[in-house]
């Protein structure tokens, strides 16, 4: 990547300083807290799985027992669970069945603490070893099929609601060149405080994220990987009330990417801010350990705010997401910071403003595989114009060397993509990106021109905005509606009751293993 904008280095540094300052008190809070889903994610890594006859997942059964009993979650679910498991003399799998059938984990008196801890650590190790093996497998495939993915990677969504139909759509897309398949989640799964179990065929606007669905899609894509000699990445949504659990499931089933934003749940799903910050940290540690590339959700800002006027909120959020990600042990090359081409297509020189924004992000986050989202808001039933807009987007993405390119669909305003919509999107993107492959290397921007001026303005505006946030404090800034024109009270939103203050004796063998594996200090700093 060649720098072209001549952005003032000191202002970029100042923004990073501010991000650190803004994140610090939040991270302090996070350090002292867990949540029901953090605990369930912990259980999942320890091997807890399955569901009862009503479809309630075993991790939920376990955590709910502790929640509703005296055995407070403040000590961490692991101790009680491993204690009961050990006492049962059963394997984890066998014990899962027992719990599903109604067995309680909270009744048994605590036995030999050291033995429990040892068993817990062993289980954590076993779980994380599986994750590490997945990571190693992925790395070996990426090595084997080096340079076979497109640059940027072409990211296609499937969203039939039925995992088996999704498989057909995904394989079709992968055969025609998709590098990444995202299985879009059913409407509002974010708001479920559990993860459904098993293969599912009934979603709306997307398919349930379940571990079995992950497994089915993974196998389908591995097939194409071998057939085409190109590693096909799988991604899903690590967001909402079960963020850490989805991370755990993804890590266990070798997903490769995750939509995983530090504030999305707060702003766009009205999930409690404290809960969200706690959950995002744990989920990101898992993603970091699993080598999963996260995608942040800055594009969402632009679906409600104006992309031209509020461009700086995107950049500010990128800095914050970066900070929170570092704090969770993610290296830059796993940070798919998000942004989108969402300016009004009627703006004169809009192409240049979008180019400026994309190039700016590229230069400020040089090692980060930026995830670039296509126009959605201004897409209309005019599929022909839509195709043209999408192609403008293809151009800018390649011209600014984005990392992950979510393909626009000409039918964006109409329906979740048909097989042919995806095909047309892929054909167009492949054509354009090949035809202007060296464009980025070829051009310079004029000093004093629109692109350089705009990029500097947005950066400056961002720094000013972050100064304000730093002054107010992040949670207060959110309360005042400084992001995405949305106001969220600190103590409002969903899931606050699932927040858990860590007690004196809080023990979490998974967290410990993750932290030590990721080289994170107790304070979570890096």
């Amino acid at each position: 990547m060649r720098e072209k904008l001549g952005l003032p280095r000191d202002r970029v540094a100042r923004a990073r300083e501010l991000a650190t300052q803004i994140a610090a008190p939040v991270l302090d809070f996070v350090e002292g807290h867990s949540s029901v889903t953090v605990e369930r994610a912990t259980l999942r890594i320890l091997g807890v799985d399955g569901a009862n006859a009503d479809g309630v997942p075993v991790p939920n059964l376990v955590v709910d027992q502790l929640r509703s009993s005296d055995a407070a979650l403040g000590s961490g679910v692991a101790e009680r669970y491993v204690n009961a498991l050990t006492r049962s003399g059963l394997s984890v799998a066998e014990f899962n069945g027992r719990v599903a059938a109604g067995a309680r984990v909270d009744g048994a008196p605590l036995g030999d603490r050291a033995a429990v801890r040892r068993r817990g650590e062993e289980l954590a190790r076993a779980g994380l070893d599986r994750v590490a093996r997945n990571r190693a497998f992925r790395d070996s495939k990426l090595e084997q099929y080096k340079d076979r993915n497109h640059k940027p990677m072409l990211y296609l969504i499937v969203a039939t609601g039925n995992i088996y139909e999704d498989v057909k759509q995904a394989q079709a897309a992968a055969l025609k060149g998709a590098d990444v398949i995202a299985v879009i989640r059913t409407t509002a799964q974010s708001l479920l405080d559990y993860v459904p179990y098993g293969a599912t065929t009934e979603g709306f606007g997307g398919t349930y994220a379940t571990q079995e669905n992950f497994r089915i899609m993974r196998a389908a894509l591995d097939e194409v990987t071998e057939r085409e000699g190109r590693y096909v990445w799988l991604t899903n949504y690590c967001s909402g009330l079960c963020m850490p659990e989805i991370a755990a499931m993804g890590a266990l089933e070798r997903l490769d990417m995750m939509l995983n934003d530090s504030m999305y749940g707060i702003l766009f799903r009205d999930i409690n801010p404290y809960r969200t910050f706690v959950d995002q940290k744990f989920s990101r540690m898992i993603n970091a350990y699993a080598g999963i590339l996260i995608n942040t959700g800055e594009d969402n800002y632009l679906t409600t705010s104006d992309a031209f006027d509020k461009a700086y909120t995107v950049l500010a959020s990128q800095f914050l997401n970066e900070r929170f990600a570092y704090a969770a042990g993610l290296p830059a090359r796993l940070m798919g910071l998000g942004h989108a081409m969402e300016m009004d297509p009627g703006i004169k020189d809009g192409f240049l403003y979008e180019l400026a924004q994309a190039q700016m992000a590229r230069e400020i986050f040089p090692e980060h595989p930026l995830k670039y989202m296509p126009p959605t808001k201004f897409m209309s039933g005019d599929i022909f114009m839509g195709l043209v807009m999408d192609n403008q987007f293809n151009f800018i993405s390649k011209a600014t060397e984005q990392g992950v390119h979510l393909l626009g669909m000409l039918t964006e305003a109409i329906h979740t993509p048909f097989m042919m919509d995806r095909f047309l999107g892929l054909e167009a993107a492949k054509y354009t990106m090949n035809a202007m492959a060296s464009f980025s290397d070829e051009i310079e921007f004029r000093e004093g021109g629109i692109v350089k001026t705009r990029a500097r303005e947005v950066l400056e505006r961002t720094v000013g905005f972050m100064e304000e946030i730093a002054g107010a404090g992040l949670l207060e800034a959110i309360e005042r509606g400084m992001f995405a024109d949305v106001k969220r009270a600190k103590d409002g939103g969903k899931g606050l009751d699932g927040l858990v203050a860590k007690g004196e004796g809080y023990w979490n063998p998974v967290e410990e293993a993750l932290k030590s594996g990721l080289g994170l200090g107790a304070a979570g700093a890096r």
Binding site: A172, E202, F268, M419, F423
Partner: protein, 248 residues
């Protein structure tokens, strides 16, 4: 006398239509012929399959042009859109109309219901700012507008409407996959009917993939699709209130 209109390519009544679709068969001469026969089977003639491509194993994509002889009697076509032919009043006119014919503030409650999280559409209709240079209902002095946002369960919306003694309820539905909007809207009307309150409110639905026809079928007073504005909706509501008052 009938006034039959047909598709127009470059000559009146040439009937030219462009189609594209996928068939679950491999690409090739036989696939192309299947595509051609399919188009003829839908009542077109002179179908030319101008492009075919493999989309996946056993799936192929076609672009075709064909001639439709069958037209529509334009004279008999009645616009099925809530704003209708009559035309909408502007903001000031609506307020004047309320002052003249209703004589008190009209209360409107709106939300995007179910798990649907798309606020932009209902906001476009209700928020001060409005949309595309049409102010939203909140800006109308003679309206009292309550926008509950998105992801609002039908029950909550109705309770709220009862509490503020609303005249009209606005329901937005954007996600339509697997007909989830139909389920949602049906449940809304059933709830109202179960409470014996259907007659109490003017019920208006809206969303980009909604037709007035569908909304009316599901028991709403009207439905507004893409490109509708607050003035259209306000006009409909106040006229309806007066019409109901006159009828009773």
């Amino acid at each position: 006398m009938a006034n039959i209109v047909r598709p127009y390519g470059d000559t009146l009544d040439d009937g030219k239509v462009q189609l594209s679709f996928t068939l679950p068969v491999p690409d090739g001469p036989r696939g192309r012929e299947a595509a051609r026969l399919a188009v003829l089977g839908w009542g077109f003639r002179e179908c030319e399959v101008v492009h075919s491509a493999e989309v996946s194993d056993g799936f192929s994509f076609y672009v075709a042009y064909a001639v439709a002889d069958r037209g529509v009697d334009y004279d008999s076509v009645v616009a099925d859109e809530a704003q209708g032919e009559e035309g909408s009043m502007g903001m000031d006119e609506v307020n004047d109309y309320i002052r003249a014919h209703i004589g008190r503030k009209v209360v409107v409650v709106g939300a995007c219901t179910g798990f649907d999280a798309h606020t932009v559409g209902i906001d476009a209709i209700m928020n001060m700012k409005g949309y595309n240079h049409h102010f939203g209902l909140e800006r109308y002095p003679m309206l009292e507008a309550h926008n509950l946002g998105a992801q609002v369960p039908n029950e909550k919306l109705i309770e709220y409407a009862e509490r503020v003694n609303a005249d009209a309820i606005l329901v937005s539905q954007v996600v339509t996959q697997k007909d989830i909007h139909v389920q949602n809207m049906t449940q809304f009307i059933e709830l109202l009917e179960a409470k014996g309150e259907r007659g109490r409110f003017v019920c208006v639905a809206g969303g980009p993939r909604l037709s007035n026809k569908l909304a009316v079928e599901l028991g709403f007073d009207s439905g507004f699709g893409r490109g509708s504005y607050a003035d259209d909706v306000a006009t409909f509501i106040v006229r309806k209130i007066v019409e109901k008052a006159e009828a009773s």
